[in-house]
């Protein structure tokens, strides 16, 4: 497989503290990899090392075959990078800023005109092109940073929290933009928003304490949730818990407040059909019978903070 990003044994130490502690992964073309993890887990540090801003303590990074340490300029030419907080030059206007980036990237005038037109239209910068970046809202600043990152149509995109500070409509647009580019590129994004992973990522990686603790498609990760395929049922009838427990596929039943029960399946298999049959058979009156929706955040919390329990009855899914 032709890897666009190859990260091998990456370590970053600050004094005694390991910010990144042996991270290895590869990203092929067409993949959108989502970095998940609590603050300070090492997501941004990993990105800073991939883009050559930080020198790793150990390990190597190759971008489209170029070793970032040995051929920094060639590697950087392949990357579009949106750093954390989308820094730019506050006294410049978006158009002069983008032209500066085009200068540095050595874009000829035809390519420049075509690409400027494309990014300005797709990132929606038309109305602020001549305003100092200083005076722009957080959302516009983020979009200027994004425009800068995709300006040269790079094969590799590294986006540190690309939708942070955007309103829901803008978030939706940026995700659409990422999805449009996904087939052609290798994209790594970091995010706090788990729904974003489900929306745009073809692969998710959970990073905690500088290590990769989970890696898979968002669907695979969801299966690790203790709530995966669990079924919620509201019923005032007697003996509900016992009857549910007697089903072969049900591992255990939890009684929540107000006559609500949650049945956990054995081995994550689907149990809703069996429970529906049981309800009909027993003639229970139920006001709710629903499968818990896929919950990446439960997986996330379980993996990154294993000492806390993750139950609660106040956030059941829709029926």
């Amino acid at each position: 497989m032709d890897w666009m990003i190859e990260v091998e044994g990456l370590v970053k130490k600050f004094g005694h503290l390991s910010a990144v502690d042996g991270v290895s992964f590869n990203v092929p073309r067409g993949e959108v990899l989502g970095f998940l993890g609590p603050n300070g887990a090492g997501k941004s540090t990993t990105m800073k090392m991939i883009t050559g801003f930080m020198t790793p303590t150990a390990g190597s990074v190759r971008v489209v075959g170029y070793d970032v340490d040995e051929h920094p300029i060639a590697a950087k030419a392949q990357i579009g990078y949106l750093p954390e907080g989308a820094p730019a030059y506050p006294d410049m206007t978006p158009i002069s800023f983008l032209n500066f980036i085009a200068d540095i990237r050595g874009m000829d005038s035809t390519t420049r005109r075509r690409r400027l037109e494309y990014v300005i239209a797709n990132v929606h910068l038309e109305e602020v092109l001549e305003q100092p970046i200083d005076t722009l809202s957080k959302g516009f600043k983020r979009r200027v940073g994004l425009a800068q990152a995709i300006l040269h149509d790079p094969p590799v995109l590294i986006l540190d929290e690309p939708t942070d500070g955007l309103d829901p409509n803008q978030k939706h647009e940026v995700r659409g933009l990422i999805a449009d580019m996904a087939a052609e590129k290798a994209i790594v994004i970091s995010t706090h928003i788990l729904e974003e992973v489900e929306a745009v990522c073809s692969r998710a990686m959970i990073i905690a304490d500088g290590r990769i603790v989970a890696d898979g498609t968002p669907g695979e990760l969801e299966q690790q949730s203790p709530l995966y395929n669990a079924v919620l049922i509201d019923s005032q009838n007697d003996g509900v818990a016992e009857a549910l427990s007697s089903l072969a596929k049900v591992a255990r039943v939890e009684e929540l407040s107000g006559g609500r029960f949650r049945a956990y399946p054995a081995d994550g298999q689907s149990i809703v059909a069996e429970i529906a049959d049981l309800v009909r058979l027993q003639g229970w009156s139920t006001s709710r019978l629903s499968v818990e929706p896929p919950r990446l955040d439960e997986v996330f919390r379980n993996i990154t903070r294993p000492d806390t329990t993750t139950t609660g009855d106040n956030h059941g899914g829709a029926a």
């Binding site: 050559g52 930080m54 030419a77 750093p83 506050p90 006294d91 200068d103 800068q148």
Partner: protein, 245 residues
């Protein structure tokens, strides 16, 4: 390399004029050179058609004004985070260091060039030696480059502009006074002449005064150029080393 240096240079130079900073600096610079020349330097009392009183104060003027320009070169980028953008663009560190330095240098040169009415004044009042004045201008801008390279390097080491300014002034001060009589007299009492010369040769004053006499000695030229290159190289090393921390 040339193209990226040029891009950095253009962006930086435009940056000065995007903010009031440039105009404030130029006004203060012209105001102070005027005061020093006519008031403290007794330009008229001397009744000589030259610009010595004007150039004599340049080292002391630069001592504060150049670090004020240099302090933001890197510290501001570090503070705003734009350095992360700059250092992940495909250009060599030399391009960045040199582009930034040249932009600030040209900016100071613009301020210096705006003192041309002084030259017109002496030309109107008498018959100055234009060769000496040209040499002095050249010496002055070379010396400004020296102060600037020191300030740029120190700016790269911190994200606090005030700290960058204060340390730069101190270091620039050392490079200035090592040739001043007050320091040399202290050494003259007991030190051998070679040490005296060595200390003096580190000073901007020694070399600037030599140029002000109207002779551009190759040694003075080499001094300023190598001093600038040395500090720029240190600047590059600091930026590179900071990538690891």
């Amino acid at each position: 390399m040339m193209a990226t240096t040029w891009a950095v240079f253009r962006r930086e130079l435009k940056g000065y004029f995007n903010t009031p900073l440039a105009y404030i600096f130029i006004v203060i610079f012209l105001f102070l050179t005027g005061i020093f020349t006519f008031y403290i330097g007794s330009f008229f009392v001397r009744a000589q058609a030259d610009l010595r009183p004007f150039f004599n104060f340049h080292p002391w003027l630069y001592l504060f004004l150049v670090p004020a320009i240099a302090m933001r070169l890197w510290a501001e980028e570090r503070k705003s985070g734009s350095i992360e953008l700059l250092l992940t663009l495909p250009l060599s560190l030399w391009s960045t260091v040199v582009g930034k330095f040249l932009a600030a240098w040209v900016f100071i040169a613009i301020a210096l060039a705006l003192t041309f009415p002084m030259w017109l004044t002496v030309s109107y009042l008498g018959e100055p030696d234009h060769g000496v004045i040209v040499a002095s201008y050249l010496g002055s801008i070379l010396m400004a480059g020296g102060y600037l390279a020191i300030g740029a390097c120190i700016s790269a080491a911190t994200k606090n502009q005030v700290i960058a300014f204060v340390i730069s002034v101190v270091v620039c001060f050392l490079f200035t006074v090592s040739g001043a009589p007050i320091v040399l007299d202290f050494f003259a009492a007991w030190a051998p002449q070679t040490l005296l010369d060595a200390v003096a040769s580190f000073s901007f004053l020694t070399h600037f005064n030599a140029i002000q006499n109207g002779v551009i000695d190759l040694r003075d030229l080499i001094y300023f150029v190598s001093l600038i290159l040395l500090w720029l190289f240190a600047n590059l090393l600091i930026v590179d080393l900071k990538k690891a921390s």
